[in-house]
Symmetry: C2
Subunit: 376 residues, 2 copies
């Protein structure tokens, strides 16, 4: 069973000039206007932010990671303490990633069989673990996430056609097993479309997953090294085979440009470490491009990061102060920068929704393109 009475997606409007969509995700932890950006809270915390900070920034849903929480502190411990929402004091919605991507990128040893993935922990280096599709669902159900993801195999790039085909077929068999294992009403299970850069494999995968009837569909295995135009093309092609009435999620994307490109093709949901990780590295988003706070030119600059920005950081602090905090290694730098970058992303999504509702999304996108430059 893959039904969740609390979960619903409403398609509210469509842009006249693009495939951009306006919708609403209804979860047992709140309603979310889409397209939506989900800040990443890998280890049960969006780094440097309290839940109140996130709510104030307008975040309604965050992403957390089953792989990390399974290893530490353990999903059963979190379940016994009342679930992930209570554990981290977050009243909003949570989507957990199954850990497929992390298994392949973080673990010290990783072997795939039909049964599942055997790996060694990247934390203690020694302990061996087997994650099967069933275990991946059990972990996420124990965490109590609102949206959960099946175990999938994440191909590295480039991958031969045969390898991509075999992998995609395994991902489908695992998706079926995840669907069968999913037995908790409070969570909605999504499907993940794989298939590498091969359009026919993406199409096959999408069609087979749709037959299994998931609550939503993700496009996985992207932004792993393929050229951007090809990535956008694969997303557009994949979405063609997914039902309009279900939410579509582009996993791990992306840059501000990616958000526009993907929204224009019909993506409803995003997550990415970019705003939070860049913040901690002193790379700040502005309406005219990114800004490197440690640059000497900001040393005595009394201006805020972005004069057009309404975030707490821009209303109260100069670039000079932020640069001082950053070069001094002060924790407050990470915090003030994260507030700014998340505000930038979440405000961008608010604008995107506003313009889609008026079918003027292209106008916003063109304005963005004319202003936004990479300054790195």
């Amino acid at each position: 069973m893959s039904t969740n009475n609390d979960f619903e997606f409403k398609l509210l409007a469509r842009d006249k000039n693009t495939n951009a969509r306006l919708g609403q995700l209804i979860t047992s932890h709140g309603k979310l206007d889409t397209p939506v950006f989900m800040p990443v809270g890998t280890k049960a915390t969006v780094k440097a932010m309290t839940p109140e900070d996130l709510a104030q920034l307008g975040a309604g849903i965050i992403l957390s990671n089953a792989y990390h929480l399974y290893l530490r502190p353990g999903h059963e411990l979190i379940r016994d303490l009342g679930g992930l929402h209570k554990f981290m004091n977050w009243p909003g919605a949570i989507l957990t990633d199954s850990g497929g991507y992390q298994l392949f990128s973080l673990s010290d040893f990783c072997k795939i069989t039909e049964e599942g993935v055997t790996f060694q922990s990247h934390i203690d280096g020694g302990t061996k673990h087997l994650i099967t599709p069933e275990v991946a669902i059990q972990i996420q159900q124990a965490l109590g996430a609102d949206i959960i993801m099946p175990l999938d195999e994440c191909l590295s790039y480039p991958a031969e056609y045969e390898r991509a085909l075999t992998s995609m077929q395994l991902t489908i068999r695992w998706a079926q097993r995840c669907r069968d294992a999913h037995n908790q009403g409070g969570s909605a299970l999504f499907g993940i479309v794989q298939g590498g850069i091969y359009k026919d494999l993406r199409e096959q995968c999408a069609l087979k997953l749709v037959k299994l009837d998931f609550a939503g569909y993700a496009v996985g295995g992207l932004s792993v090294g393929e050229p951007k135009p090809q990535m956008y093309d694969i997303i557009a092609h994949t979405l063609d085979f997914l039902p309009q009435q279900k939410p579509r999620y582009a996993m791990g994307l992306g840059s501000p440009e990616d958000l526009f490109e993907c929204v224009s093709r019909g993506v409803d949901m995003f997550d990415c470490v970019m705003p939070t990780r860049h913040a901690r590295n002193g790379v700040l988003f502005t309406s005219s491009g990114s800004l490197i706070i440690k640059h000497a030119k900001h040393t005595d600059d009394a201006k805020p990061i972005d004069a057009e920005c309404g975030c707490y950081t821009c209303r109260h602090y100069s670039r000079a102060y932020l640069r001082h905090l950053y070069v001094s290694g002060e924790i407050l730098a990470a915090r003030l920068h994260t507030i700014h970058n998340l505000y930038f992303y979440l405000d961008l999504m608010r604008q995107i929704r506003h313009y889609i509702a008026r079918s003027t999304f292209l106008e916003l996108w063109n304005n963005f393109k004319s202003q936004y430059k990479h300054r790195r």
Copy 2:
């Protein structure tokens, strides 16, 4: 000239059974009830806290450090950007330490002459600097602090009587020069009593400084290795020679026990890195003693740090979650722990004032002693 029209100290009440005092410090950035604890914001930030956090915790005055800010980002830069209050967005009062203590403990090379202190920066390791008493005042006036401190020589412990005498005499000559250099109405200049562990030197120093008529008096050179009973004894002895109508400040103290001991002897002002530094190291203060959050016994503990505590952290987070954040190296741990420890200190001071006002300070102190144990 050492007058400041905005600065005033009112002695409001005295405990009947001890020398504890209740007072009010009036600065151009707010009124402060004493005894008062000043959180330490060395580099123009109380680590991990926003000014709003501090205000919410009840802090009305913080300490910042002229030595650090002189080296980075530079006091002239801060002055040109509107002063330290504006730079760090802190509307409350600020006391700056002159840097005497830091010169001796942090700089790579340090030579004292009658003129001042020559040292090499601990940041770039190479550049040489000379801080004279006059420069120390200029730096602090450029920062725009409400209370500023003279340059003094901080003896290491133990020190021979002759060495302590010579040093104390130099500190007095520097204090006179600082007083002469002080020419900004917005700041109040305190004197610092030195003299090591020698009571007659403390007495001489206090009497000479009092003749110079400072806005308040600090006891410096303490907690450098001498036994605690001796430290308390020297404080009590020094205060005997300071005017009742001026505020008394015990520099760099202390532990919760130190606060009680010193308040009972008539100290009005405190600063210490202990609550904030311990917080970042996962050592948390509770009504029954300190708690080490990384201990395995907290792994699945649903209780807050302290069930009797009303702070944000204790109202929303379990020991299990805080331990998870701490062992995972998450920034939020530093932030939630700092909120808790500063709340503990500031709430303790609120209680101390409440009980002094009723002449029942000893009752509070006895309760504290019976409950509080070192668990480290």
